[in-house]
């Protein structure tokens, strides 16, 4: 019982901190950045379910993000559909696509899976660029309406912050529950050994596809939120580079750690802002980070930093007194 309680306390304190942050920030620009942190957190947590728990590599997750954004955008701009309804449709469509794609694609493992997801991501990126009549092509799509509930319009950064972070907190809660459930354990079993998991009665194939679809749905929701808060989307945000960024976030934070994904997302969203002067260097930093983290801290910051701190503590002397 105690374990459950500490998890709840952790989550609630996290949630409270998140919700109180706007009171400490004055600048509108910082608010905008924090909105991005929220969106990236949803994406990183979604990817972590697939990558960290189930151990399935995906280098094309930006595609699901983009699908959610574009479906929402097209439905609300071209067909004047209600934004919330559009979001639901976008999420379900993306989920369905991922579900159908999941069956053949998740038969693959290791680098083959990586390449297949990469290929899929690029195909969608090309589709976004080429279907100019629908998506506006490389110049993007603008005029996407803000979200609103009754008379409350989410039209400034602070309101969007709360909107996004409510979704992010729900996503985190959902993932934590999932991770600590029978399904979470089954996922980790799959990660360790698919054959053994199958031998224990886990429906490996179906579960992998379900997690893939769930991950895609969450990413699509993030995409819709992105579309409505930015009011402008273009294919450039949904390409291979962003997929790699997402994987970097998950790895830096720590595979299989939900809060780690938040950490990774926050770090990789804030870092470019702090390094404003080094605009073009960010691509090098990502590359270095990926290599160094994988070599020296494969468990991510969430495990590596406490380990380092722990090792710095004075060694306790053992044995009876002298």
């Amino acid at each position: 019982m105690f374990k459950v309680k500490s998890e709840t306390v952790k989550f609630l304190s996290f949630a409270v901190c998140i919700l109180l942050i706007p009171l400490l920030i004055s600048g509108g620009y910082m608010m905008n950045v924090l909105v991005f942190v929220g969106i990236n957190t949803i994406l990183a947590v979604a990817l972590n379910l697939l990558l960290g728990y189930a151990g399935q590599i995906s280098l094309g997750h930006a595609a699901f993000f983009g699908l959610g954004a574009y479906i929402s955008g097209v439905l609300t701009v071209t067909y004047s559909l209600n934004s919330w309804l559009a979001m639901v449709i976008a999420a379900l469509t993306t989920g369905l696509l991922a579900f159908m794609l999941g069956f053949p694609i998740l038969k693959l493992k290791g680098h083959y899976l990586a390449m297949a997801t990469l290929g899929f991501g690029i195909i969608l990126y090309i589709v976004f660029n080429e279907t100019v009549a629908i998506t506006g092509g490389p110049s993007g799509m603008s005029g996407i309406p803000n979200l609103g509930i009754a008379s409350l319009q989410f039209d400034n950064d602070t309101k969007n912050y709360y909107l996004i972070w409510v979704f992010a907190l729900v996503t985190i809660l959902l993932s934590l529950n999932l991770a600590n459930s029978r399904i979470g354990r089954a996922l980790r079993a799959i990660h360790d050994s698919e054959v053994a998991a199958r031998g224990m009665g886990v429906n490996v194939r179906f579960l992998k596809v379900q997690i893939f679809a769930l991950s895609a749905i969450l990413s699509a929701v993030a995409g819709s939120l992105y579309a409505h808060t930015m009011t402008f989307i273009s294919p450039a945000s949904f390409g291979f580079n962003f997929s790699v960024e997402l994987v970097t976030m998950v790895i830096i934070g720590g595979l299989g750690s939900i809060y780690g994904s938040f950490l990774g997302a926050a770090l990789l969203t804030l870092l470019p802002e702090l390094l404003r002067a080094f605009q073009d260097y960010d691509i090098i930093v990502y590359g270095l980070l990926l290599i160094l983290m994988t070599m020296f801290m494969p468990g991510g910051l969430v495990r590596g930093v406490p380990a380092i701190l722990y090792s710095l503590l004075p060694v306790k002397k053992q044995g009876s007194g002298n």
Binding site: H111, E130, Y281, I284
Partner: protein
């Protein structure tokens, strides 16, 4: 131009790009066969070949042969350094870790290239002039012939090396069974180093011969690498004729698709083919299926 002439044109230019894909694919296959790693950074060596040659030619003003040789040398060194620093220390890494590291390296190399040379596209001069030749109603440039010739040369050299030289046979031995190879006295670590060196050299040559036609810039590596990988997959990761055929097939299909269907989706065609192969016959067209030990 009537349809059949167009088709011949597409096929010829497809064979040419296909040759490039074959060279890149062989690079993937060689490293995979000796280490089991897919080197996502392979495409970057192709980029380095072209960009370094351009740099030495236009900025340092070296004669073209010297520029090319120096470019190949430097690209090979980068490959060796990469193997030493990032691959060798990680003997026990999971496939995920290895994928991530090679992706990280590819990003790093690409980023450094962007910093040093900027984002512009550059082109190299054609090796023997710009006059097109006419073959069966289709036009090809001398550069296409150079590509065919050099690719063929490299494939022949490869064949001789792997099948008739001691170190080549040693590398093949490592690819069949590392432990057995080291038991008979083969220095597996050195073979791994060689495989990276050979792959990066071949990749850079591919970049050099392609650059006069397709231009080169800091980010050509991504697409070329992926398509080369696709060629290797079609060929079942063989270090020989399978991958070559895979590359040629890919090049021709891509060219026909771009010409007859739509050019915007040209890149998508390669990836759709990749996905289809991975879904339907992941061991490649030319190989028997493998079984996996649990």
């Amino acid at each position: 131009m009537n349809l059949s002439q167009q088709v011949i044109q597409y096929i010829l230019s497809g064979l040419s790009t296909g040759s490039i894909y074959s060279l890149i694919g062989l690079g993937f296959a060689i490293i995979f066969n000796s280490t089991g790693i897919i080197n996502f950074a392979q495409g970057e060596f192709v980029m380095l070949g072209g960009m370094l040659t351009f740099f030495f030619l236009s900025v340092v003003k070296l004669p073209i042969i010297a520029a090319m040789l120096l470019a190949i040398l430097i690209a090979t060194s980068v490959g060796v350094i990469f193997e030493r620093l990032a691959i060798r220390p990680l003997r026990k890494a999971t496939p995920l870790n290895l994928v991530i590291i090679t992706i990280g390296a590819s990003i790093l190399i690409r980023g450094l290239a962007m910093l040093i040379w900027g984002k512009d596209t550059h082109s190299l001069p054609m090796f023997s002039g710009n006059e097109p030749l006419f073959v069966g109603g289709a036009t090809i440039l001398p550069q296409h012939l150079w590509i065919f010739a050099i690719t063929l040369l490299i494939i022949i050299i490869n064949k001789f090396y792997f099948y008739y030289s001691i170190s080549g046979k040693a590398m093949r031995a490592c690819s069949y069974n590392r432990n057995a190879a080291s038991l008979v006295g083969i220095d597996v670590k050195r073979m791994v180093l060689f495989s990276f060196a050979i792959s990066s050299a071949m990749g850079s040559v591919a970049g050099i011969i392609a650059a006069p036609l397709t231009m080169t810039s800091y980010d050509v590596g991504v697409m070329l690498g992926l398509k080369g990988f696709c060629a290797a997959i079609i060929g079942g990761m063989s270090s020989g004729i399978g991958t070559v055929l895979g590359g040629l097939l890919l090049g021709v299909l891509e060219s026909l698709g771009a010409g007859l269907v739509s050019s915007g989706y040209k890149d998508a065609i390669a990836f759709i083919i990749l996905l289809l192969i991975l879904f339907i016959r992941p061991q490649g067209i030319f190989k028997k299926a493998e079984t996996e030990r649990v």
